[in-house]
């Protein structure tokens, strides 16, 4: 690794750490304002998620949907496509697989695979809509996908409330899933979906960094026009990455619903799509870093939930922290002056050693 690369890496890690520290600092200030027992609240937020194996597996459990949406957003943002429908696809994927889990009977393992595949296929197909509108008609993908999220939400609500609600229950929820469709637990409450997530991380990493399609996706993200001139089918690639994003987020919704619940209960978008954007930013669009970023976010999420259970600080603190991480982590010029100083220092050192060598000669 050359000197400059090492400097960049060192500085990147430093800046990331600084951004995270700033956001936790902001959280601490807010906690001191809101809470009567701020130190206890901080302890619950930062230490309790790692305090016992049960808690750590609780963090793993929260990681499952985040890994999928994180990967989905990574792939789409790699091609510079600001497609924000991961949110809706999680809901839709969860609902489709719930339907398959309730109304179709199959042998045990096959049933789970079938449910996840159906979710993936349906969500991939749905993502073709904004992709086609963008490549054929030029409609801004960000706006159409934001609208699509709401359409999906209301349609799912309609079917859930009017067609497949279990009338014997007080709250709105579907009939229970068939036993064969439920993803078994690995340990405590964490399902084997966690392993499926890790496998997908590996597959997507290989896809993005070791295949021709992955290369085309990344190149389109770097410079769309150049990719077009050098012979890549840019509109096909743009559609491809969005379909992959849909497939991944649909799988995420499916795995979460079948692994965590025994009935379908989501009446609104669960928010994992937006978390996926946070993860893609933390991971710098690199799929292999997605598990680490999702671990961090899941850890913060678990901490905030613990804090809201045991103290008087609301769990929505998580969104505030996420927003601050967002602003600083994505800030290219954050600490730029410090970086400048590092570069100058290193260059001076380099010139000095060179001069010494010259003199020695």
């Amino acid at each position: 690794m050359s000197n400059e690369n090492r400097l960049d890496l060192k500085f990147g890690i430093l800046r990331g750490a600084a951004a995270i520290l700033v956001s936790i600092g902001v959280a601490a200030i807010l906690i001191f304002i809101v809470s009567d027992t701020p130190l206890e609240a901080l302890r619950y937020m930062l230490i309790s998620p790692l305090s016992s194996p049960r808690q750590i597996f609780g963090v793993f459990e929260r990681m499952i949907p985040l890994m999928f949406t994180g990967l989905a957003v990574c792939v789409m943002f790699s091609a510079n496509q600001f497609n924000l429908a991961a949110e809706g696809c999680v809901l839709l994927g969860g609902f489709v697989s719930a339907l398959c889990a309730i109304y179709i009977s199959m042998p045990p393992v096959l049933h789970v695979i079938f449910c996840i595949l159906m979710a993936a296929v349906v969500c991939g197909a749905v993502m073709m809509v904004p992709a086609a509108l963008q490549t054929k008609l030029g409609a801004n993908v960000m706006v159409t996908t934001l609208m699509l999220n709401y359409i999906i939400q209301y349609v799912v609500q309609y079917f859930l409330v009017n067609k497949c609600a279990d009338k014997s229950q007080g709250a709105t929820m579907s009939l229970p899933f068939l036993e064969t469709a439920i993803i078994p637990k690995m340990k405590y409450q964490t399902s084997w979906g966690f392993v499926i997530g890790l496998v997908m991380v590996l597959l997507v990493s290989v896809f993005i960094y070791r295949t021709r399609w992955g290369y085309s996706i990344r190149m389109t993200g770097v410079n769309q026009k150049f990719s077009g001139y050098s012979g890549m089918k840019v509109s096909g690639i743009i559609a491809l990455c969005q379909v992959i994003g849909g497939v991944l987020s649909g799988m995420g919704g499916s795995v979460e619903v079948l692994g965590y619940f025994d009935r379908f209960k989501w009446r609104q978008m669960p928010g994992y799509g937006w978390n996926g954007v946070t993860i893609a930013i933390l991971a710098k669009n690199n799929p292999i870093l997605v598990p680490f970023a999702s671990f961090f976010l899941a850890y913060l999420g678990k901490g905030c939930v613990n804090m809201s259970i045991y103290t008087d600080v609301p769990a929505e603190m998580l969104e505030v922290i996420q927003a601050v991480i967002f602003l600083f982590f994505a800030a290219d010029k954050f600490l730029a002056k410090y970086r400048q100083r590092l570069v100058v220092k290193q260059t001076v050192k380099y010139i000095d050693t060179k001069a010494v060598k010259e003199v020695a000669k």
């Binding site: 609208m147 209301y154 309609y158 937006w274 609301p314 967002f326």
Partner: protein, 315 residues
């Protein structure tokens, strides 16, 4: 049923509800137009509206004055716009990501602060906030169709007034010229000595203030007080309205009215027994269709222009 829908559409009350529903979308769409013409896409409108909706309620409760509440909401909106500008220009955060961050603050942060100030997490019913006054226009009040224009809230009139104000800003003031120049080509504007950072910050502040008024409208007139997630995607619909209006004040107003009408239609159709969830998708579907048709039209026009130019050059 068709008859029922038609008769309700042609009632004066329908027209009145179109204006009532359009106003917040119009504020946000104008906000989007100002920033877009300055060359920055402000997708944090949704979040700004949420935060301003909450601050409008809080300010009006503290001052016991509805207008002070609305002004406070606009001020907070402008401050958030400036904050986005700071992160975008000084720290290099992508403006779209800064917008998403603001939206997150609008989603979870407002619930957090609502809890901080009122001790509740769902709505602001426990604090005595004020509602915006309505204004009767004496001349129109009793005329059949024009009567819809009378008796609206003061901010509804302000929203449509802002269309004219933004037009004047764009085309009749030096600041507007600067904003358009920076939006057209940042580097060219820089090279003739414009302070682009300042212009973009001002554009974002105006944008934030307009969205802030939209937020105040939501919590101080459209519904009583603040509810969690009350803006419900209006900030995003406004982005579409602005895109269809090409950032021109008048066009933006017309497309906002289209979305307002779609939403009003939804309210009416719910009244006659169609499934409310499916009817609720109408404004969003119309947005996608209208936006696609519109961009398809401009793409075709550009293609034809290119072809004509090529033909001319060959001659």
């Amino acid at each position: 049923m068709v008859q029922q829908i038609l008769s309700s559409v042609f009632a004066t009350s329908f027209l009145a509800s179109v204006f009532r529903i359009t106003a917040p979308i119009l504020f946000a769409a104008l906000a989007s137009a100002v920033s877009e013409r300055g060359g920055v896409a402000n997708i944090g409108l949704e979040g700004i509206m949420m935060i301003s909706a909450l601050s409008g309620v809080l300010f009006s409760a503290w001052s016991q004055n509805a207008l002070a509440g609305a002004l406070g909401a606009a001020l907070i909106g402008a401050l958030i716009g400036l904050m986005m500008g700071f992160f975008h220009l000084k720290l290099g955060t992508d403006i779209i990501l800064a917008g998403i961050a603001v939206n997150m603050l609008g989603g979870g942060g407002t619930i957090f602060f609502l809890y901080l100030f009122t001790g509740e997490k769902g709505n602001s019913a426990s604090i005595p906030s004020r509602m915006l006054p309505t204004v009767d226009i004496p001349l129109f009040k009793d005329v059949p169709v024009l009567g819809a224009l009378s008796g609206q809230s003061i901010l509804t009139y302000a929203a449509f007034l802002c269309v004219i104000l933004v037009y004047i800003l764009f085309y009749k003031t030096p600041l507007g010229l600067k904003i358009r120049a920076v939006g057209e080509n940042r580097h060219a504007a820089d090279s003739v000595g414009l302070s682009i950072n300042r212009v973009i910050c001002i554009a974002l502040a105006i944008s934030g203030a307009l969205a802030g008024l939209g937020g105040a409208y939501m919590s101080m007139f459209y519904s009583m007080g603040f509810n969690a997630n009350m803006v419900a995607g209006r900030g995003f619909i406004a982005l579409a309205a602005q895109a269809m209006g090409r950032g021109e004040p008048l066009g933006t107003m017309l497309s906002s009215l289209l979305f307002g009408a779609a939403d009003a239609l939804r309210n009416n159709m719910e009244g006659i027994g169609l499934p409310s969830q499916l009817v609720a998708t109408i404004p969003y579907i119309i947005t996608i269709i209208a936006l696609s048709l519109y961009t398809a039209g401009t793409m075709n026009k550009a293609k034809r222009a290119r072809k004509n130019r090529a033909l001319r050059e060959r001659k």
